[in-house]
């Protein structure tokens, strides 16, 4: 709804579009209070938003400029054009235009994420602050400045041919990837399923669009499916985090895993292999395995090797080292881990000492392991992580 309204009113009138949404929701609450919501509540909301938009433009059209590329002054065009913008297909297209507009190169990554949550997911300031582990004041500033930047752009980004949008599409994919990751293993709450769901919804829109459903997009959605399928198994009933080998694999979502494999198949067209392809392939190996022991670790190490060549990163190297430990034994894993341990980017990571401790434990070096576990617990970013590392230490003593 927000996307359609912004398309009609223009990017420079974001605040006006937000007012309309607010107004429509208030009206809905009032109208539904006694009779209850109508059978098709979303159709009711769309009709109400459309009518509010038409009223608003009639009232303001001599004073304000709306979408610069639309003719809305004439009655011949006003109602038909606004109605057309609220058609299902158009709404989806507007959602994409909005996504592309927000992922502009002159906006920082945190600003892009905050705007995606604000304008495309309908999050409030406090929810965004919680999701991005930031203060409300900082988010407010980020959003306000971001809106100014958007307003200067004037019109929404036009999602035209594949070659024109290629660079911007990568930025959109990256933002959705970050959004999903923030939900999946963010630094705030251990698992924020809502963020993952929103990232998947938006990525689904990309995947349905003829121009945006590139192999990269399909691979990214596949990756999200594989991870999301395991979400329900990641935390125990009391909310504490579970390790891969502790997870009850029967709780994994089989339908989502199947969807992931279908998408991964479809993403295999074209001659490009992206980091999303590789990460999805790695996740698929976990999903396909009946247990940790029966996982194709050698295959996973190979995929990590490719991934490091494509996108060198200490985090990937850390994950690779863990896989090496499973595929070739604890000592080999420790060796691989030592090779990445000096990277300054991992200095604060709790996962490096945690991984080290687990490998040391398997190698029978329990005293060194205890020291590493203590280090991991010190670096934990949230209570659930701290509890996990503490429980691992306890396990060792038994």
């Amino acid at each position: 709804m927000m996307a359609a309204l912004t398309r009609i009113l223009g990017l420079h009138n974001l605040a006006l579009a937000e007012d309309v949404v607010q107004d429509v929701l208030c009206r809905a609450l009032r109208a539904w209070r006694y009779a209850g919501p109508p059978r098709d509540a979303s159709a009711w909301l769309v009709t109400a938003a459309r009518n509010r938009a038409i009223d608003l433009i009639r009232r303001e059209r001599t004073r304000r400029q709306f979408a610069p590329d639309l003719e809305l002054r004439s009655e011949y065009a006003l109602a038909p054009t606004v109605s057309a913008m609220f058609e299902q297909g158009e709404i989806e297209d507007d959602l994409l235009r909005m996504m592309f507009s927000v992922c502009a190169p002159n906006l920082s990554e945190p600003a892009q994420l905050a705007l995606v949550l604000k304008l495309l997911c309908g999050f409030g300031t406090s929810e965004i602050a919680a999701a991005l582990l930031s203060s409300e004041a900082a988010v407010e500033k980020l959003v306000a400045r971001g809106k100014e930047t958007l307003a200067r752009a004037g019109a929404l980004y036009e999602v035209a041919g594949r070659s024109q949008i290629e660079k911007r599409l990568e930025a959109v994919q990256h933002a959705l990837y970050l959004l999903f990751s923030e939900g999946y293993h963010g630094s705030g709450e251990p698992v924020q399923e809502e963020l993952c769901a929103e990232a998947m919804r938006l990525c689904g829109s990309l995947a349905r669009h003829p121009v945006c459903s590139t192999p990269r997009t399909l691979a990214l959605l596949a990756l999200m499916c594989f991870h999301a399928a395991r979400l329900s198994g990641r935390a125990a009933e009391d909310g504490s985090l579970l390790l891969l080998e502790q997870q009850d694999r029967s709780r994994w979502d089989r339908a989502l895993i199947q969807r992931g494999f279908d998408l991964l198949d479809r993403s295999a067209s074209g001659d490009q292999i992206s980091e999303y392809h590789l990460e999805a392939a790695i996740a698929s190996k976990h999903c396909a395995a009946p247990s940790v022991a029966q996982t194709d670790w050698a295959g996973i190490v190979e995929l990590y090797d490719l991934l490091i060549r494509l996108r060198p990163s200490p985090v990937v190297a850390l994950n690779r080292a863990i896989a090496v430990g499973e595929a070739r034994g604890a000592e080999a894993g420790l060796e691989a881990l030592d090779a990445v341990a000096k990277d300054p980017k991992l200095r604060a990571s709790p996962f490096l000492p945690a991984a080290r401790a687990r490998l040391l434990l398997r190698a029978g070096r329990s005293e060194e392991a205890a020291r590493s576990f203590a280090q991991a617990a010190n670096r934990a970013r949230n209570p659930a992580e701290a509890a996990l590392f503490a429980s691992l230490r306890g396990e060792k003593r038994n």
């Binding site: 590329d69 639309l70 003719e71 004439s74 011949y76 006003l78 109602a79 054009t81």
Partner: protein, 113 residues
């Protein structure tokens, strides 16, 4: 570029079902957006059927206009085109023509004094 007035007559809106009318309105909307995109549209509005007519030196006001349905002006558009031929060509996109309406294309007069 010279300006032209389109005068629409007898687009027969009242003989249509609500669905047909809605479709007809969508066509008008799309046509106007196209004219706007191509830089031809300047202004224009549909008209209600009733109104008042003021006439004569005595400036008498009567209800009206009571023209035959096919002669009734249903709306107007002010457009920009290179010449009369182009203006006439552009007017062929008018959705009213599909329901037995007509478009009168008139150049805006330049008054030299």
């Amino acid at each position: 570029m010279p300006n032209f007035l389109y005068i629409f007559r007898g687009a027969g809106m009242n003989k249509q079902s609500p669905q047909e009318m809605q479709q007809q309105m969508q066509k008008w909307g799309a046509w106007i957006q196209q004219l706007q995109k191509d830089g031809h549209f300047k202004a224009g509005e549909p008209l209600e059927t009733g109104g008042k007519v003021v006439q004569g030196k005595r400036k008498a006001v009567t209800d009206g206009p009571y023209a035959e349905a096919k002669d009734l002006v249903g709306g107007f558009l002010l457009i920009e085109a290179r010449n009369l031929d182009e203006a006439a060509e552009l007017s062929r996109g008018c959705p009213g023509l599909d329901v037995d309406g007509s478009v009168e294309v008139r150049p805006i007069a330049i008054l030299n004094m």
